[in-house]
Symmetry: C2
Subunit: 128 residues, 2 copies
DNA sequence: CTGCATCCCAGTAGATACTG
DNA sequence: CAGTATCTACTGGGATGCAG
């Protein structure tokens, strides 16, 4: 999070910013949750149901992290039972562009990556 | 890497692709190395010098991963001492667009994120 | 319903030393 | 020069149980 950065063509400002951003969205769940919330406000267990493979703990941690970084707004309605809604902030919505770019690249080039992986693994299977 | 994906507005294809991509570039060093190689071919220890904080082991592992996924080409020249050059493949270069988009977003919104973090931490410091 | 606390395991980073 | 091997330490993340 606070590493040296010796890129030749760029000072450390952009580099640290990218590092910080990747350590936020580079984890296992953040992009998934953010993408989900692009569809509108959701309650806690609603998200859980939509992402069955996430554990309660990780959803809590992910939402806390996103809230801390100002990407998600958490609204508590103190009824009984309590109701907590999560929605993207404007900052959160502004991530849509870069995320779409990444998704488009990922979709377009995944076959190439998988082919490269298969070729690499085949090349190195002979050794074993 | 092979997780369930229950996004409402997208089938699992794009989602898995994004997951795969993030697990590639979401680590600590890959983006740094790729960005570095955008400036042209580099030798192993050349990269090490340019990224002083990376360990020899992690540089090896990072380059292997990128090579396996077809983003980086590894060229061995069997002289004494041996010479190994790394350069981006066409696939690697195609990452430039999304990476730039991410960097621009990161640079533009980092102040907002840092402010949000400070506010969040301040809000929760009172509790302690 | 929401979410915090605890325990526990597996994966992965780092340091160091050694090899072709 | 360009790695590999090994060992240790840290962290992410799942399971479970408890609380407001």
């Amino acid at each position: 999070m606070d590493m040296n950065c010796a890129l030749p063509d760029r000072d450390s400002g952009p580099c640290q910013a990218v590092e910080a951003t990747l350590s936020r969205i580079g984890d296992k769940w953040s992009v998934l949750v953010v993408t989900l919330l692009r569809g509108g406000s959701r309650r806690f267990n609603e998200i859980r149901r939509l992402v069955p493979s996430i554990s309660q703990r990780m959803l809590t941690l992910t939402l806390r992290g996103l809230e801390r970084d100002g990407l998600v707004l958490r609204t508590v309605t103190p009824t009984t039972p309590p109701r907590v809604d999560y929605e993207l902030t404007e900052l959160g919505h502004s991530l849509a562009g870069p995320l779409d770019a990444l998704r488009d690249w990922a979709v377009a080039h995944r076959p190439a990556m998988q082919a490269a992986q298969a070729a690499f693994d085949g090349r190195h299977a002979e050794a074993a």
